[in-house]
Structure formats: C-alpha cells, structure tokens
C-alpha cells in the first residue's frame, strides 16, 4: 500500500503545483471567449478543446482545480474547527451540554443538505463578484458540514472525560478552559486530523454537485462542478472523450485524498 500512498501524495502535489502555475501555463485566462472556435476539439492551441462558448477547457480546468484544491481545505479547516469547538466542548462537559449539542447535531444531520444549500444560495445577495460567490459557496459548505465531525469528536472527548490524567489535572485545580486547551485538544488531534482530511474530498464533491446544478461558483469563474456540467448531455459526450478529463481528475484527487488519509490513520493508530 505504501507505494500507492506515495503515488497519491505525489499526484496531489503535482496537481496542486500545476494548478498554481495556471497563470503561466494558460496565460489567456479562463474567461476569454474564442467565439470563432466554440466547441472546438483538442488542438495545439487548445489542448482540451474549447467549451460551448469558446473558452479554453485546459485553462478552465487548471483554474478550477486551483479553486477546489485551495478552498476545499479552507472549508474543511472551518468545519473541523467548528466541530472541535461544539463536539469537543460538549463531550468534555457532558450532561445537558452534550445532550443539547448532539440534539442540534442530529437536527442538522436530518436536514436535506441539497435543499438547504439551494435555499441558502437563493437568499444570498445577488450582486456578488464571482470571487465572493466562490468564497461564500465554500463557506456555506463549511457551516453546514461540521456535524458528522462533531459527533465523532464529542464521543472522543467524552471518552477522555473520566481519564486519570484529567482527574489529576482537575485535582490540581486547573481551570476548565485550560484543561480543554492543554489536555483535551491535544488528545483529539488524531481524530481532528482525520476529520479534516475526510472533509476535503467531501467538500470538493459537494461543490461539484452544486456546480452541476448551476448553483455553485458564479460565471465566469470555473470550478470542478461547472466543468462537470459539460457531461450532463450523455448523448453528446460519447464522441468527445476529452470532456471526461475533469471527471478523471476529480476521481483521481478524491481517491488520492482517501489513500493519504488511510496512511495517516495508520500512523495515528
């Protein structure tokens, strides 16, 4: 398995580096419309052809990848922090706090995600720039995506509550806040890291789902979701296999994250 993990790490690194080099690799940008060459097949000028309104598909893939690979971890960081705060504190305090926090978590888990996202998206102000729209999209994902992690962290923190080292710390008169920060959080680190790592591909896929529905990142900014929209017309895709490249890349990246995660879990174990 080690070789696969190394390959996964290498692939993620390569994809990230290439996407960060988008300005040099695709200097014309993701928004320029080559209207005379709309829907063109791959060529020396357009390596993956152009989309339906003539934008270079390769450039859009690079910029879209950059957005997903930078913002999905950022959203994962926000959601994991929220999970640590809500789940960790509730588990540490126990009793009514734990019951209350878990009830809220259950409520969030029972909500239909997609409809909730569509509703929240509909309530957003209309006049936001594409950059703000992408930030807001990932922020919404983060604000709604902390619940599963919170349950795991709550259980982990609860299991530590009666640990001997905590009793000793309490007996020594250490305050609750300090106890939580010094003794609980460090012990939650493996779970936190695992939850953070799990969230990244989940957010990437969630954005892709929203994008396919046309409710994700605003035009002309690309994202994997908006790139995958090209696959919605099954009939027209058959003869244009290069349209599958964003999908292949998405699968490769998500799989790589999973492979790297399993490695981290082993290390943590």
């Amino acid at each position: 398995m080690r070789i696969w993990r190394r390959l996964a790490c290498a692939l993620l690194l390569l994809v990230l580096v290439v996407s960060l080099a988008a300005n040099w690799l695709a200097p014309a940008g993701y928004a320029k419309q080559y209207r005379e060459a709309a829907g063109a097949s791959p060529s020396r000028q357009h390596w993956l052809g152009t989309d339906d309104i003539g934008r270079d598909r390769f450039a859009r893939l690079l910029y879209g990848t950059r957005i997903s690979l930078l913002l999905a971890p950022a959203a994962a960081l926000v959601s994991t922090s929220m999970a640590a705060l809500i789940g960790g504190v509730a588990g540490y305090l126990g009793g009514r706090w734990q019951s209350g926090a878990m009830a809220v978590t259950d409520l969030f888990l029972s909500l239909p995600w997609l409809f909730l996202l569509i509703t929240v998206r509909a309530l957003m102000p209309l006049n936001v720039t594409p950059l703000v729209s992408v930030l807001v999209t990932f922020l919404i994902l983060a604000l709604l995506g902390w619940t599963t992690a919170a349950r795991v962290l709550c259980a982990s923190a609860a299991s530590l509550r009666q640990a001997d080292f905590l009793r000793q710390a309490r007996a020594a008169g250490i305050g609750r806040v300090r106890l939580f920060c010094i003794h609980i959080l460090p012990n939650l680190k493996p779970a936190l890291f695992a939850q953070f790592w799990i969230s990244i591909p989940a957010f990437i896929l969630s954005e892709a789902n929203l994008g396919i529905l046309g409710l994700g990142v605003a035009e002309p900014l690309p994202s994997w979701g908006s790139l995958l929209k090209e696959l919605e017309g099954l009939v027209s895709v058959g003869d244009e296999p290069w349209k599958f490249v964003p999908l292949v890349l998405l699968v490769a990246v998500v799989t790589s994250f999973q492979l790297v995660l399993s490695n981290q879990e082993e290390l943590a174990g």
Binding site: I53, L126, V235
Partner: protein
C-alpha cells in the same frame, strides 16, 4: 373455386381494403404527466397535446399556412362588432362512441366553456366582458353564439375548443378527433386508438386517420428521449435542443428538420418597479430608455445565435417573431451590434469611463446582476456571453443562476432583482393573447407589473393601442395598432429581445407524411395523415 371460397375471399378483400390505410403505431414522448383528459380543463402542454390529437374543433388553424380552415363547421360568419359568430355545421358526423354530432353539442360545449364554476382556462379567451353568452340553435346544423363584448379574432379562438357531446354517457371521453384515449398508465404512458367514426377522408376517399394507434410515453428527461429516438424506440421529437440536433444531423441528416425561427423568444429585462429594494441610482439607470437601448446595442446577438444555439436561432428584431407571418412588423430589424455607439449614448447621458470601468454621473460604477434559471444551459451561456460583451464597455455583470421558484418569487413578489434573462414560449399568433404582457395593469407586465395607472407615457400609449386593436374587428386597423406597439417596445426596450430559437425536430424515417412546421405541435400537426411503416 367454390361459391364459399369466393365469398370468403371477397370478405377478406373487403376487410383488407378497409384497413389498408390504417397503418401502425406511432410513438413519441410527452415531457410531463397529462393533468387532465377533459378538454375544458386543459392547461399543461401534455394535456394540450392529447386534446389536439383527440378533440374535434369547429375550425382549425393550418399550422403550415397559418390560415383558418373549416373542420366540423363547414362555414362561419363573424359579425362586424366581433360579438357574434354563426356556424354552419357538417351533417352526418358522430362522436367516437356513436352519438350523433349537432348544434346542441356546440351549445353545450360553449356553456361548459363559460361556466364560472368550471373556470376553463380555454374559456379565458372568450371572457371579454361581464354578461352571459347567448346561444341560439337555428337548426341542427346551424348555431349562433353572441358574446357580451367584442372578441378580437373571434373565429380563431375556436381552434382551441374541442367539442363535447351533450348526450354521450362517456362525457369528455367521447371525441370527434382522429384518436381517442384507450389506455392511461399514470407516470408511464397514454395510448390513443384510432377513432373509427372520424369524419375525414383523404382525396382518394380512404378514411382517416391512417394510424392504428399512438403510444405516448411520459418521459421528462430529454437525454433519455434522445437516446430512445436513436434506438428507434420512438418516432418523433418536438422542440429538439440545438446540441442534439447537430449530433443527429452529423449521423442522420435526413431525420432532423430545422423549420426556421419559431414564435419563442429569449429576452432580458431590467427591474423598473418603483418599490423594488434597489439603490436609487440603479433604478434611475433601469428606468432610462437610453441606458436600456445602449445595453441592447452592446449585445452581440449574432454571436448568441451562432455560438449558443449553433446557428439554430436568429437575432430577434422585436416582440413578435418573423415566424408570425401576419403580425410581425416587417419594418423592424434586429438592433445592430455597436458597442462604440452604446458607449457614446451612455456618455451623452452622463456616464463616463474611468480606468476601464463605466461610472454614472454620481460616480457609481455600473455593476448589475443578470438572473436566470439554473439548469438551462442555453440561458447560462447567453448570460455569460452578455457578461463579456458588456465588459467591453466597462460594465460589470454578475451572472446569477437560481432555481426557478426562487427566481419567480423575486420577479413577482419581492421584486428583488436587477435584470432577468428568460424566454417566452408563444403558442398563439394573435396579439390579444399577449394582452396580459402589454397592459400596464397586468400581472405579467414583468418589468413593472400591476401599475394602477401607466407610469410612463409610452406605457399609456401601449395600453391605448392594445385596447384599440382588441376592440375592433377591422384587421387593417388592428395590424396598424399592433405594429406601432412593436415599434414602441423596440424604441423603449423594456424587454431586450435577444434571439428567436429555431423550431427543431426529428422524425424517424419510418414515419410517412410528416412535414414539420414552426407552430406547435411541430411534427404531428397533420397527425390524421401520418403513417408508420
């Protein structure tokens, strides 16, 4: 040969002769579940399709020539005041269940049509004023109908009215059209069988329709519809997407038909509602005809047609498509693409360019959002192209896609939007069918609906002209009035008309007699004369 053998042979020949032209089953898809089989309650597209195939009408508009033709009525006469119509009916016609057709059935149908308790959507076109409709049965084959107020194009309104039987125990299931509903499986299919009592025959005297049956599969997914067509599982597709059209055309060009610009239009408009929750300076832009016209001329319509619709659309000249042969104002042409001219016009209005950004006289950057419904790839593409076109004159456009209910809520209730890009599907040809769009008091006067009194002089003039054309039966006067309405709409640009989509369809090579047209139902408007191998 014995006498008995000869007799059997003769009987067989007679049966074969009778069914020689009853040919096969035609299959195509309905894109939604039909909500009703009662022709009086029809509102949705699927039910309209079934009414077209099963209902017998007094007159019918020929979808190819757009002329009104005699059907169950062999002649008709409209009074000068457009309040009364007298029909002379054909005799010897029976409903599908065998009950005879007479003037009583027409009277019964009109009574149902105008019944306030039933509130037939088809009857809306006849509710021109308060009061009752008078029906006078002159003889079993002659009837006169008098409406309380004038109805423009009164005879044409009967194209949508399927005649019901006043005596049949089968009620609305007894029909006078070429087919009748034989089987309905909710969510799956509707099967129509040939109406053996259908009154029409072809030039050779063979009874119509030729087809034995029609199978209508309920299939909302257009990809699946297309796949089924390519697998020969269905025979027709109406309103084909331009992407699919080109795909099919590349492999089987003989199967696809581009009938030219349809009645449908794609358009955008700015929010001009006074109470809209928008900053004052933006309302000022949107209420300026110069601003709207400048935006209109800064949009490259030719590119929209060529790129978004792959050439299967034409730049729109105004509110009426050239497909509407009579009512289209031929003096109008699509606005020329002149970004420089647009910029000059805006500069004359106090706007100025500053470091590539257009600013108004108060120094506010010109930024607005265009809202469209998510999931419609053509509108999303158009909005993105308009975004780039307007960027060239320093305007920043934010494209926002929303689910349809949220979008409609903003248009009709909260008025919380800046610009909208949507399409309009037109079925009728007569301007009266657009009264609900053009009258300033109407709910569907989208840029500024339900005005208590017209807020601008040009809207007052449109109101006057629309009422004028509705109140007269003089076709020339009506045409003059509606031509002027079209000119005002182009001058003021409350709607910025972008393109008219072409009527695209696909017909299997096994179907004979198909002649797709621009009007609905494109491929099967002459269904009684279609046959399948």
């Amino acid at each position: 040969m014995s006498k008995r053998t000869i007799l059997i042979s003769l009987v067989c020949l007679a049966i074969l002769a009778g069914s020689a032209f009853a040919q096969g089953e035609l299959r195509f898809c309905l894109r939604s579940e039909p909500k009703t089989f009662d022709p009086m309650k029809v509102e949705d597209d699927a039910s309209v399709a079934i009414r077209y195939l099963t209902g017998g009408t007094l007159v019918r508009m020929n979808r190819q020539t757009q002329a009104l033709e005699a059907e169950l009525a062999e002649a008709w006469k409209v009074s000068k005041d457009s309040k009364q119509i007298t029909f002379k009916l054909r005799s010897g016609i029976s409903f599908s269940d065998g009950t005879p057709f007479s003037a009583e059935d027409v009277a019964y149908t009109v009574q149902q049509l105008m019944d306030p308790a039933l509130h037939s959507p088809t009857g809306d076109a006849f509710r021109s004023g308060p009061g009752k409709v008078e029906t006078k049965i002159i003889s079993p084959t002659q009837i006169s109908l008098t409406f309380p107020a004038p109805i423009a194009a009164l005879d044409r309104q009967f194209d949508q009215v399927a005649i019901l039987s006043s005596h049949s125990p089968k009620k609305e299931m007894a029909v006078l059209g070429p087919f009748m509903v034989a089987e309905y499986k909710a969510g799956t299919s509707v099967v129509l069988k040939r109406n053996a009592n259908y009154w029409k025959a072809d030039a050779q005297g063979h009874k119509l329709p030729y087809l034995d049956s029609i199978k209508l599969d309920i299939q909302p997914n257009r990809d699946v519809e297309m796949l089924r067509f390519t697998r020969n599982e269905i025979d027709l597709i109406n309103s084909l997407d331009s992407d699919y059209f080109d795909k099919l055309a590349s492999s089987s060009p003989q199967l696809v038909h581009d009938a030219g610009p349809s009645l449908d239009s794609e358009q955008m408009w700015f929010n001009q509602v006074a109470k809209a929750p928008l900053p004052g300076y933006k309302k000022e832009w949107f209420r300026s005809a110069t601003f709207r016209r400048a935006i209109s001329t800064a949009i490259n319509r030719a590119d929209l047609s060529r790129v978004v619709f792959r050439g299967h659309a034409k730049p729109a000249a105004g509110p009426v498509s050239p497909a509407n042969k009579y009512w289209f104002n031929a003096k109008l042409t699509p606005p020329a693409y002149t970004p420089d001219g647009a910029l000059k016009a805006l500069q004359a209005e106090g706007f100025h360019l500053e470091k590539g950004t257009l600013k108004d006289k108060y120094d506010n950057p010109v930024v607005f959002s265009i809202l469209t419904n998510s999931g419609n790839k053509y509108r999303e593409r158009m909005a993105t192209m308009i975004q780039e076109d307007l960027q060239k004159i320093g305007i920043q456009v934010n494209v926002v896609t929303l689910d349809f209910p949220s979008l409609i809520e903003r248009v009709t209730q909260t008025f919380n939007y800046e610009a909208i890009l949507l399409g309009l599907t037109n079925v009728g040809l007569d301007p009266n069918e657009e009264m609900n769009v053009w009258l300033s008091s109407s709910e569907n006067h989208q840029w500024n609906p339900q005005q208590k009194a017209p807020e601008t002089a040009w809207e007052a003039e449109i109101d006057r002209l629309m009422r004028l054309q509705a109140a007269t039966s003089d076709l020339k006067k009506r045409k003059e009035a509606f031509d002027r309405v079209q000119e005002i709409v182009v001058e003021q640009s409350p709607f910025i008309y972008l393109v008219n989509r072409n009527a695209l369809s696909a017909v299997s090579s096994s179907v004979h007699g198909a002649n797709p047209v621009i009007l609905v139902p494109q491929t099967y408007w002459n269904m009684d004369r279609l046959s399948v191998n």
